[in-house]
Amino acid sequence: MNSYQAHRPSLRDDCGLQIQRAWQDGLWAIIINMAKSKSKATKDPYFEALELAARSQLDTPIDRQAVWQAVDKIINEKTVVKDPTTVDLYDWALVSTGMTNDQYPKYIGAMRVNVVKANPKLKEIAKTSFFSCVANSDWEHAQQIAAVMDKNFPADRRFHFRNIITTYIYATSLDDNDAKKPMFRTLALRQIEKAKASRHQDSSSEPLPPRAIATQDEMMLWLEMTIKETKGQDLVKCLADPKYNAPSALKDGFETVCSTMMDQLMRLGAWDEFYAICKEIFENGVAFWLVEEHEAKEKAKREAQPTEEKSLEQKAAELMAAMGRLSIKSPQELHKTKLAAESIATRSVVKDWKTWESFIVAASKQPNAKKALKEVEEYFTMITNFGPQHAIYRTQLDMARLIIMFETPLESESDESLASGARIDGIMAYIRSHYRDMSCFDNLRRFFGLLSISEAKALLERLGTNGSQSEESQFQNIMLLTFRLRLRYFFTTFSKCYKPSSTNRGATCGICNSDSVPERCEACLKEIAKACIWTWKAGFKHEALLEQLKIEGASPYTDLTIIGSVCLLKLAGLDGLWGRNDSSPLAWADRKRVMQAILWMDAQHHSQSVKRQDLSVLLVKLYILIGAASHAKSIWDTLEVKNVTLNCLGPLFADRLGTMAPGLWQSHVHGNTPTSQYLHYYRSAIDKNIPNSLRLSFDHGNYASVLGNLSTKTKHKQSCTLVMALVDHYRGIRSVDGEVMQETWQNRLSQHIKPGMRLYDTTDYGPFPNIEANPDRPIQDFLSIGPGLSEDRAHLSLLSERFLSLIAYKEPKEYKPVNAALAKDRDRNIVVPACRDMMTSMNMIMQRMDVRDKLTLPEYEYYCHVQALGFYVVLSLTKPKGGMPDQLVEMIRSELINQLARLMVRRKTTTEADAAKGDVFYDISALHANGMLRESALVTVHVVRYLERTRGADAKSPMPQWMIEHLKILRTVSLAVNHHLKECIERLSMTVNPAGWADRIAEWAFGDLANGTRGVSDDPEETYENSDIDMLLYKAIGPKRNFTMAIDLIVHSWGDAARGWSKVKLIE
């Protein structure tokens, strides 16, 4: 329900006090009677609408339907309702009785237009009617209203531009094959071009004509439409036209227009045009800064501040010299002609890093790149000297100089060797100046990828030397050491640092010369992990340093923990392939290293006074991976993810919880589940907040924002996160209730999503640490149960839910059809085509080559299973006499048996001692696989029940023998699955609950050290060389540092998981 419809519309004043009160109190029977008599007495259609609105609130279907019949009659008889309050009542009543956005144009949109036409001079009515249409995405009638208002009030610029943008939006909302589309598109473009032409024809006249573009927002509308509707060179030509280009926009003080134009030129690769425009802007920028400095100088003189004067004069002299070299117009000349707005906008653009970065790229593509880059550097140096000397501008300049150095073409071999040394020197200089900045490493990342192996080694060496020698500053020392270890990790994960090798493993690590698998040299990973632990452990001794780190806001120990732990995880065998051929990424992982990494991260997490979100997110993912979902949730909750960021950040936590953590859905009856926040958010965002923002954007004449809000609405309505939340919501509730929810077809949040519709994955992985060199294999890939959200995955999951609710649908008990056979025929006529369409859509996705990369193996198998069952339903309902292919049933059966077998393989391969303990680690890491298997059994049972219902009760056409046999097979196999799941659940409860688990986990992580078989050395002479990872880490986070707290939390969380699963309902 939209916000404006959620509340009852206000009644007209002439209703009388009694009706008003009854309306407020919802006393519908009273309103009906009184409205009826008023209607008779006055013949005013308003009271008839009021009566119908009150009837729509009653429970009886006939009363609820009455308003629909009345509105149908109005539409069919083309009756014009002139009173807007009458339409408000119909609107409210229809929405209350289930009107969808699709139905709005036919029933209410058309009436709204008539109201506006009937009241041509009443702006407020037009406005309300317009926003009603906009809120319901009825662009056809919104456009008609906007056009009427534009015609009625030609001097009001708001109505003119509202008409243009609404016409444009309406055109884009039409299907490509709709004949009206090009007509409305052309109309909108012509209108906006005319508005732009009027501005430039009459630019001297002030004020501008009312129908000319006057504001930056209006110019942005022209630009946005032009960008969308003009392609390639035509767009370049348009953006480079001196009359309308970026410098011209700055003349009007339109900074956003200028930046958007520059972005487009860059996107189009129009480097020559971009370079020329940039030069012009920078020349103007220098001049404006000079004027600014001149004015500051004059002001300083006036205020008698001689200390400032000298430096300003010096600067002015230097700048004049520089200007001479660059042929810049004199400041006096410009001072007279430029407006203050132009000055502010230009000075802002020339200090913007985005402009700088692109200017360098454009210069590097010029015929004489060396000269052009030098010139660009001069501009930057000059610009940096102007205005406030913020640290960010110094960083910008240093960064720009580095980029220019790397971009400058080399002319000879001797140049190359010189350049190599200079590049390392340049990077080192940058690090020395900016190592305090948290973004220092990320800023330099682009250069690390350009270094050769020998340069990489040289850089590491220089950093190592500097790191260990700067003993005068412990702070600098720890920062540089951390930087070095992060860099070493970067090179270890960088394919360019591996040389082909003649050995079986295929590569030699360029950094340590070990034989290795590319991008994961074990020797380097071990070395980095050890160094990180050593440095991390040593940190606790230096209280003064810890205090300084707090003041500086630096957290190198968190970085060391992340780098070291990720090395341990890679050594454990997590490789980012999501257990492609197994039930879980942990199925074959080294339990010891995984637990070490988790306990280390947890120790650092609890020692931080200010939590680093990257470490928190890593822990959330790891705890989910090992089945400790309730503990993961408690950490996630500390991140306080706001509703507005759920669409982007929510999947980092909630994805797949519905299958692996049913315990989190136990309290769903109170509306408290991990997904309830999402669904609530989407409802208010789509129905209330975004329409409100749209209204505000229209009101303020912010047209780019109108388009932006529409795009946000689309991305919310067609969001993969939305589908994830819905599907996990259904799965989670189903696991504890056992019932299939019937709302998947009617849910307002998903009913508009049709197969093949574009869905948007807006997941933001930014909160994860960015430490991998290979952007295609980021850290989250090997810490997740499976691949992230995707369009295909979302469609498959939604189609499966729809299939399940279709076949699980049961008529209410009260439903007694007069002709049962006819009712069954009708049911079949609905189910068969619906099923066939769904399975065809699923098949199209499942046939894609890359679909397997978007799903976990259990998901892939589940969707194969659903698809096979779907086809079976279609075949069994359409070929009742001809018999069924037994192969299909055999395939369904064997697929489920194979899934069962694979789940048990890992258990069989564990040692006997592990098996005796129940090997809970691997059981619990396979919870997602068990969850999907449970879903497979459930959908199988529902298919059997459906076919039994449909065919079994049909006396005229009894179920054939082959179908009886098939259904028996399907029921048997689903029973076998449920039997396995019951065993798993019992084993989980039995193994997790008894005491002694804390010691066992400590032993998993630290083996002999934890059980006392191996003594813990307290040798004060312990050196880096004679220590090993286990010992170092045990001493760093072991009992003395209270690692038992983390272990207790894990055990407790596994207990929660076991309790949750013990309440799962298995349908048989």
């Binding site: 406030p388 913020h390 900045d437």
Partner: protein, 149 residues
């Protein structure tokens, strides 16, 4: 008025929210009446982007908008215990105009206290040539939260 700062990958690393406003007209004769001014509602910079001057750049952008909007001054509220922020604003030319007693519900430094005071800090804009809307001894002027518009 909204302004964001983005890094080179388009991530938002800081933002400022502000507005131009005045007390309602019927307050005109009230001693705490606020004339047309700009108010900083929120200013935040991501931890990894701090100490680079980004907060300052964002504030300056808002000041330009305030001058364009013909504001007398810019103002903001800050916790009395937030020494770092107070130093930052002072370095930008802001000064304490008055102390709003127990403006914040929770006291960060003393949880047992009923609330925490806020400093109402101001910076004069170009329109306030004579600096009539600021005062040197603002820390001595105390008002209650209900006096603040």
């Amino acid at each position: 008025m909204f302004q964001v700062a983005e890094d080179d990958r388009g991530n938002i690393i800081g933002y400022i929210m502000g507005k131009l406003e005045s007390s309602p007209d019927y307050f005109r004769n009230y001693e705490h009446y606020l004339p047309w001014h700009a108010h900083i509602t929120a200013l935040t910079v991501a931890p990894e982007a701090r100490r680079m001057g980004i907060g300052r750049i964002l504030s300056e952008k808002l000041e330009i908008a305030a001058d364009n909007g013909d504001a007398w001054f810019m103002d903001l509220f800050v916790r009395k215990s937030n020494h770092r922020a107070i130093r930052f604003y002072e370095s930008m030319g802001y000064s304490v105009f008055r102390v709003v007693k127990d403006y914040y519900g929770e006291n960060i430094e003393d949880p047992s206290a009923g609330g925490e005071d806020a400093y109402d800090m101001r910076k004069p804009m170009k329109r306030d040539v004579k600096h009539e809307h600021i005062r040197e001894n603002g820390r001595e002027f105390e008002v209650d939260p209900e006096d603040v518009f």
